[in-house]
């Protein structure tokens, strides 16, 4: 029993890692641009299929494909920004709807390119640590955990220490005031979109060997990401990380000890509860107007 609990904790830490990467990207995009990217799950999917294409089919080294995933999906993000988020800047609902259109395009592209079936990827490493007897952490999962910690720390430093980071936080506070201070909204939006999408791409690329990608994998991912950003408070980067950990633990434990569908329902009910009681999220500070 103890092993099972510990193993579940390890699994939850892994889940929290890639969920944080996805949710933080979504929050960053929302915070800076004020728009919800419904295609975020499909950006994750695109990251996973980068690995399918380059690593599985061509044979490029795995870590190179992860970097490629970051760049490719980051560029997809830029494409979204330039083609519809930017022209629809004053129309958040329009931006959201357009991102749903983009979701369909990405999904269909994956179907056309790779078929609807699960793509099985031979893991780059089968090695694993046995933490104690019966509790296992594969190297592949460890990569995800390390990558999440490193990337989120880098993002934190970027936001706190650089000029662009400062400008981005200013935009998240008040876009008009930021624009008055001479911050270029277009430039900052492009950076936010590249980073936000790129994080989803990295998450997809790193987890691809563990989840067997399908073109439709984005759906459950976006649901998870919504739960996390609502529970953490929309626009709250730190809140998203904390909520990702909370949700990962709840979901993993309920799945292990009860049932996957019940775990999904629990997560959704948690989100509804937060929406009803404190729509600014558990860690949101802004008072309701």
């Amino acid at each position: 029993m103890t092993e099972l609990i510990l193993q579940t904790v390890v699994n939850a830490v892994y889940a929290a890692s890639y969920m944080s990467l996805i949710a933080v990207g979504l929050v960053l995009i929302f915070g800076v641009m004020g728009v919800i990217n419904f295609a975020h799950g499909e950006l994750y999917m695109a990251g996973a299929y980068t690995v399918v294409a380059l690593y599985s089919q061509v044979g490029v080294p795995f870590f190179v494909t992860v970097v490629a995933g970051l760049i490719f999906v980051g560029l997809l993000g830029l494409l979204m920004e330039q083609s519809f988020f930017k022209p629809l800047r004053d129309n958040p609902l329009g931006g959201l709807i357009a991102s749903i259109g983009f979701l369909l395009i990405l999904q269909t592209s994956a179907v056309l390119g790779f078929g609807v079936r699960m793509a099985h990827i031979r893991p780059p490493t089968q090695a694993k640590f046995e933490l104690i007897e019966g509790v296992v952490l594969t190297h592949q999962r460890l990569f995800v955990i390390i990558a999440a910690i490193v990337l989120l720390s880098l993002l934190h430093l970027f936001l706190r220490k650089t000029k662009f980071g400062w400008a981005m936080r200013a935009c998240a506070q008040d876009r008009e005031a930021a624009a008055l201070q001479g911050i270029s909204l277009s430039q900052i939006s492009r950076i936010a979109m590249f980073i936000g999408a790129g994080l989803a791409g990295v998450a997809g690329a790193l987890t691809a060997p563990l989840v067997s990608p399908t073109p439709y994998m984005g759906h459950s991912v976006i649901v998870t990401a919504f739960i996390i950003i609502i529970v953490g408070g929309i626009g709250q980067l730190e809140g998203a990380v904390v909520a990702a950990v909370l949700y990962a633990f709840v979901h993993t434990f309920v799945t292990t000890f009860y049932d996957g569908v019940v775990a999904d329902i629990t997560g959704l009910l948690l989100m509804l509860l937060v929406l009803v009681i404190k729509p600014t999220g558990l860690f949101g500070t802004k008072e309701r107007a």
Binding site: P92, I265, L268, L272, V276
Partner: protein
């Protein structure tokens, strides 16, 4: 005098439309008739969705609500043996009832929060169908749902006959939806959309009216679900997932939601395009991509939907006088 003339034209147009709809099954093939039945059901679905949007809230749970009507009606007839026509109405009422209950948490939210909240609530309902094999049939859903009973020798199993049944039910429903919008209730919905605080200050209970819009929209969505369930004979949780909701959004956005007929134009044009043009080209798997492209292009370049083209078309028909008048006007101002 011009007004009377316009009236005659609209009556004539309405008459032609009616005749066209009545003879339509006769000129269609068997499989096209099936599509026509689904199209009519979708017309009701998207029109009910528009009623919901009048108060300014966009839901992502509308297709799930349609599913509530479908499941409830199927269960009432299959498990309790209630006659199908009555179970359809009960199914619609169940959808309205679920909406009434959901109003309490959901209308504490507005705008984006409502969007996400309605999405979450819908997913919870769908997962409940998936989880409970009894009575909902789990992931495989319900099969062998009783069909609409024969009346004498008229068999509603035939798409042609079911088409007329749907046409009748949907026509009555659209009439009711239209009357609601044109009445003070519709005026109040619009008022809440534009200035809810001002509406409250003159005595409008905005919660009750938002709830009323949600319940009415859900009743008709549920009715469309019931029509669907007893026609197809099988339903499952995936049939009512968010992908289907995306189609409703596309119909509404491409058609436009300002006018009553906007979403109807959207669903008719896109369905015809989908079934006639894309199917004949054989782009089966690529169709969602084309839909996605259409959605983006229409949000960017036709933000007011296809309905915004109608006044222009009318302008062409009403002759040169108005056209020259329009050209003259800008010259007046320096």
């Amino acid at each position: 005098m011009p007004r009377a003339k316009a009236n005659i034209w609209s009556w004539l147009l309405g008459f032609c439309l009616l005749v066209g709809l009545l003879v339509l099954p006769q000129v269609l093939s068997y499989s096209q008739r099936e599509i026509a039945v689904l199209l009519i059901i979708n017309v009701l679905l998207v029109s009910s969705y528009r009623l919901m949007t009048l108060t300014g809230e966009w839901s992502l749970g509308h297709v799930v609500i349609m599913g509530v009507g479908a499941y409830a009606s199927a269960l009432f007839s299959k498990r309790l043996g209630i006659p199908v026509p009555i179970s359809m109405l009960l199914g619609a009422a169940s959808a309205g009832g679920v909406a009434a209950i959901l109003s309490f948490p959901l209308f504490r939210m507005k705008g984006f929060y409502f969007l996400i909240g309605s999405f979450a609530a819908g997913e919870v309902i769908r997962l409940i169908w998936k989880y409970f094999t009894y009575p909902f049939g789990g992931p495989k859903g319900l099969k062998l749902i009783p069909g609409f009973p024969d009346i004498g020798s008229i068999s509603f199993f035939e798409p042609e006959i079911y088409y007329y049944l749907c046409l009748f039910v949907v026509a009555v429903s659209l009439f009711v939806l239209y009357r609601i919008e044109r009445s003070r209730i519709g005026l109040t919905f619009h008022a809440i959309h534009w200035q809810d605080k001002l509406a409250e200050s003159v005595g409008v209970d905005t919660f009750r009216y938002r709830m009323l819009a949600f319940v009415l929209a859900s009743f008709f969505a549920g009715l469309s679900g019931a029509l669907y369930a007893h026609y197809i004979g099988t339903i499952n949780p995936t049939r009512f997932d968010v992908e289907e909701m995306v189609f409703v959004l596309i119909w509404a956005i491409v058609g436009g939601t300002v006018t009553f007929y906007g979403p109807i134009i959207g669903v008719v044009v896109l369905t015809v395009m989908n079934e006639v043009i894309l199917r004949s080209l054989g782009f089966d798997t690529a169709r969602p991509m084309i839909y996605g492209g259409i959605l983006i292009v229409s949000v960017l370049f036709l933000p007011d939907g296809l309905e915004s083209l109608i006044p222009k078309v009318k302008g062409w028909f009403s002759g040169r006088v108005k056209k020259t008048g329009e050209v003259l006007e800008p010259e007046k101002s320096p």
